[in-house]
């Protein structure tokens, strides 16, 4: 089912939790809503479920206005962050509950229970109480319970945040598999950008109540629309800059590490305008042989070295007092020490020029 948010606002007294939200979730998508805590993503999800009423705007399911339809009539399957399993009911009873409300025949109920239990690998736990299950199993029960009613839309509210790292990886695959099998339109809320990038077909980023960008994961990482997104999706170094010249092919920017050339920008900037540069830590190259050559060459002092096994992280300090992070996978053997000065370069393709935005304040 296609879900459309149109000009949705949610206000709590003086504060606006969600600001002019316009978003389309395509039929059958696994759509991610990503943002730091307090950005309004859970409020958005709860409005979709009908648990909160928008202060303004409309919500459409397949083109039909459901803004004022109560939660009980929307046919939503929801997995809560804390799972919200009913502790006094067995796994079976938990799953059965929504089905019984639908007055289905006993046979149909049994069929659906079998179906979701096998999808979520829960068969042997039918008679257990939630308290007797591990975190991962509880998570699967919550998922099974939501799936059993064959919802129009499946809502997942930070479903993996209570699991440990290993289990989280496993459940990611599980959710992807189940989504593929059922094809249910799914909205997945998370603050974990790795989850969103690795699983989502579409990712919407929210910040301080505003929807700031909706894109495919790759586009989001490579072409973030703002410094906030660049910083939130993956790690980056943000530098203030000033446009020296800019044409269709290349922009020349004055920055604290010297003049940088960029081939990565989405708009033309006027000469002298203030911009923000985003340099991904893994895009910066180090002049290991002290050749002094390279695109966008500059010098910096090593403040701190962190060896992480598969990678090595350099924290650099430039003359301008700017701290840069640089990551290397497969760094060559080297004998640089903290305090040494090294040469760095970065390809013009990796220098992302973004318009400088005033920091979005707390929700207004």
């Amino acid at each position: 089912m296609e879900v459309v948010f149109k000009g949705i606002y949610k206000r709590y007294g003086q504060t606006t939790a969600v600001h002019d939200l316009n978003l389309t979730i395509e039929r059958g998508a696994l759509h991610f809503l990503l943002g730091p805590s307090g950005c309004g993503k859970t409020t958005t999800l709860r409005m979709l479920a009908g648990l909160e009423k928008p202060s303004e705007g409309q919500l459409f399911f397949n083109g039909v206005d459901v803004t004022h339809q109560p939660a009980v009539e929307r046919g939503i399957g929801m997995v809560f962050q804390n799972y919200a399993l009913w502790p006094h009911m067995t796994v079976l009873k938990n799953i059965e509950y929504g089905l019984k409300l639908r007055k289905l025949t006993a046979g149909e109920i049994q069929k659906r229970i079998d179906e979701v239990m096998s999808i979520t690998h829960l068969k042997q736990y039918a008679d257990r109480l939630p308290g007797q299950l591990s975190g991962g199993q509880q998570q699967r029960v919550a998922l099974a319970r939501a799936l059993a009613i064959r919802p129009n839309v499946l809502l997942l509210d930070e479903p993996l945040s209570n699991l440990d790292a290993k289990l989280r990886m496993e459940m990611r695959d599980n959710i992807l598999r189940i989504h593929k099998q059922t094809g249910i339109t799914t909205l997945y809320v998370t603050h974990d950008q790795r989850e969103a990038l690795s699983m989502g077909t579409q990712v919407s980023v929210m910040h301080a109540g505003h929807l700031v960008q909706t894109d495919q994961p790759r586009a989001l990482y490579s072409f973030p629309k703002s410094a906030f997104i660049a910083g939130f999706i993956g790690e980056t170094n943000l530098l203030d800059g000033k446009i020296v010249s800019c044409d269709d092919a290349e922009a020349v920017v004055e920055s604290p590490v010297g003049t940088l050339r960029s081939k990565r920008f989405n708009q033309t900037f006027a000469k002298g305008s203030a911009v923000t540069l985003s340099l991904r830590p893994e895009a910066v190259r180090i002049d290991w042989d002290k050749s002094g050559l390279g695109e966008n060459y500059f010098k910096a002092k090593i403040d701190h070295l962190t060896y992480l096994g598969e990678s090595e992280q350099f924290q650099l300090n430039t003359d301008a007092g700017l701290t840069l992070k640089v990551n290397f996978y497969h760094a060559p053997e080297h004998n640089f020490l903290e305090g040494d000065t090294i040469g760095c370069s970065i390809a013009a393709d990796d220098v992302l020029v973004l318009p400088t935005q005033k920091e979005m304040g707390p929700r207004t």
Binding site: L51, F80, L85, W86, H88, K103
Partner: protein, 585 residues
């Protein structure tokens, strides 16, 4: 909108949301639910707001016109002014002594760990279930002119003439002692909770800064514990201020409750009764607000919890001896009146000796032969049972509506159901008589409905507190999950919410039941025909009887105490540490 629009063709083609028929059922369920809610509000209006309003209005109306002329009459009435002063003084002294008794106990409870702590802490609560007016019977026996205490002292030749322990000058203190021994557990529970809420790390921090211990108590522990202390203190204060049974039995008649009790009979001739009751409401409500707003001060949220137990020190041998000594001496003292009742109930020939010369179970037999006593037990079970059922329904609904903020002004409803804590039982009973005399609810005709409602309304705060505690601990997402599946609010309430707060409901119900069983003021005032006398009124009437009445009253009192003790033990088993939360304002 129709379901057809919703069904996603791709989503396996079947119905996802509940069908039309269940939507109709849901409406019905919602209707019943909201109907009950409206009935609840109506009960609160007719049996809490209205009676109080009637009293207020009558205090200001003469021959249909507004007047304040009754107040000078009240203030110039020496007896009544003396009664007000006595009651205030009584409440103040009781609260003060209860604080002194319970502070060290609470401190020990929070800061020290020792063998048998659970048992001793439980014993400390025991006096709470010992109705002081029953204890009064025992005290009267022991401290009579020719009672056990005087006789022992004379035997020891410490005194040569009997001391008039219960003479006019000493009655005040007899009531104070009985009330302190009954009410200190409430203070103890609140102080313990308040002190336990002070994270030991804030004190440790002060210690590392070199702040002396007494300064830590003054500057850190006290400000943090203060709201909890006053929440308990005001309950004790109002309880002592308005307790009818104890002063009535001891014979200390110059107190507010006894004066109001005496005025009920000529209520329609003498408007000064309304004025007195109005004045009492004014005072209790002011004290209540004063304690909440001014004295209690701001409530501070503690940042870190869960380290509280780490602040407990293990008591050494001598420490344990001191702790045991203190706790046991308090418990034993508190139980003396009731031990006295037991001795009285089993006594056969008891004249001019320290202890009875012979013991007998005869008085218990008389209890079961007396129609008055048997009816009393039956009536009390019936009335308390019904009122408890009413409390469960009202309390659960009110708590649900308030905790989940389902109606506008939910906070107002919450305050309204807490009013009975500040409203003396005698005032409510008085209001019922005034409001409903001459209607089909007239207590002269049949007091059962009003008794049930009076019992229920007065204990409603405990039930609401108990249910709220459970609801607050329950994540709302458990209910929301049910809603997303298409369950109506009241289907969810029945299937999800109630099963999860059952323990709280049972505990609250046990408390409501116990206190209704031993209610004095409503029972004495509203039960006007012998056929309807509850247990407490039966005890009172038996006590007033000549001959062996006092002994049978004691036996009946013991039966009541046993029932109550069983209920409270049940409640504390179920509620555990959360017991204290029920006795806060």
């Amino acid at each position: 909108m129709g379901q057809k629009h919703l069904a996603d063709t791709k989503a396996q083609g079947t119905v996802s949301a509940p069908e039309e028929s269940s939507r109709w059922q849901r409406r019905l369920a919602d209707g019943i639910g909201y109907g009950t809610l409206i009935a609840t509000l109506a009960v609160l209006f007719f049996f809490l707001v209205l009676p109080v309003s009637v009293i207020m209005s009558r205090a200001f109306i003469k021959d249909g016109e507004f007047t304040t002329q009754y107040f000078p009459l009240l203030f110039s009435n020496e007896l009544l002014m003396q009664a007000i002063l006595n009651s205030l003084y009584l409440a103040l002294v009781t609260t003060f002594i209860a604080t002194i008794v319970s502070f060290p106990l609470a401190l020990i409870n929070v800061r020290w760990d020792f063998r048998g702590k659970g048992l001793l802490s439980g014993l400390l609560l025991l006096p709470m279930v010992m109705p002081p007016f029953v204890g009064a019977i025992g005290i009267l026996r022991f401290f009579a002119r020719r009672g056990s205490v005087n006789l022992s002292l004379m035997k020891l030749e410490w005194i040569d003439r009997p001391i008039d322990w219960l003479g006019p000058d000493n009655m005040f203190w007899a009531v104070v002692v009985l009330l302190v021994l009954h009410l200190y557990p409430i203070m103890y529970l609140n102080l313990s909770a308040a002190l336990a809420n002070v994270d030991p790390s804030v004190e440790e921090m002060a210690t590392t800064l070199g702040v002396p211990k007494w300064k830590q108590y003054r500057d850190i522990v006290w400000p943090l514990a203060r709201p909890g202390y006053f929440a308990g203190a005001i309950i004790v204060f109002i309880w002592a201020f308005t307790d009818l049974g104890t002063p009535l039995l001891v014979g200390f008649h110059e107190t507010v409750p006894v004066q109001i009790f005496n005025m009920i009979t000529d209520v329609n001739e003498n408007p000064i009764g309304y004025t007195l009751v109005f004045f009492v409401i004014l005072m209790t409500v002011s004290f209540f607000l004063l304690s909440k707003l001014a004295l209690g001060g701001k409530k501070y949220e503690m940042m870190a919890k869960g380290h509280v137990s780490s602040g407990q020190k293990r008591a050494g041998f001598w420490g344990s001896v001191a702790i045991y000594g203190l706790i046991l001496s308090v418990v034993v003292t508190a139980l003396i009146p009731h031990l006295a009742v037991i001795v009285t109930a089993f006594s056969d020939k008891w004249f001019m000796t320290v202890l009875p010369q012979q013991y007998t179970g005869e008085h218990f037999k008389q209890v079961f032969e007396s129609e008055l006593a048997i009816n009393g037990i039956k009536n009390s079970f019936f009335l308390a049972g019904l009122s408890t059922l009413l409390d469960i329904v009202l309390g659960l609904l009110v708590a649900y509506v308030v905790v989940r903020r389902l109606i506008p002004f939910a906070g107002l409803l919450d305050s309204l159901v807490m009013v009975p804590l500040a409203l003396p039982g005698i005032v409510l009973a008085f209001g019922y008589v005034v409001t409903y005399t001459g209607t089909w609810l007239d207590p002269l005709h049949n007091p059962v409905p009003l008794l049930v409602i009076a019992y229920a309304i007065r204990r409603l705060p405990y039930m609401v507190r108990s249910a709220s505690a459970g609801l607050q601990q329950m994540s709302p997402s458990l209910e929301e999950a049910s809603t997303t599946f298409g369950a109506s609010r009241f289907h969810t309430l029945r299937k999800v919410t109630v099963p999860l707060v059952t323990a709280n409901l049972i505990a609250g119900a046990l408390l409501c039941f116990s206190y209704a069983m031993l209610d004095v003021s409503d029972s004495l005032i509203l039960a006007m025909k012998e056929r309807f006398y509850p247990l407490t009124k039966a005890i009172y009437v038996l006590f007033l009887e000549q001959g062996t009445g006092e002994l049978v009253a004691s036996a009946l009192g013991i039966i009541g105490m046993v029932i109550l003790a069983l209920c409270i033990m049940g409640a504390s088993l179920i509620l555990g540490k959360k017991m204290g939360e029920l006795f806060r304002s």
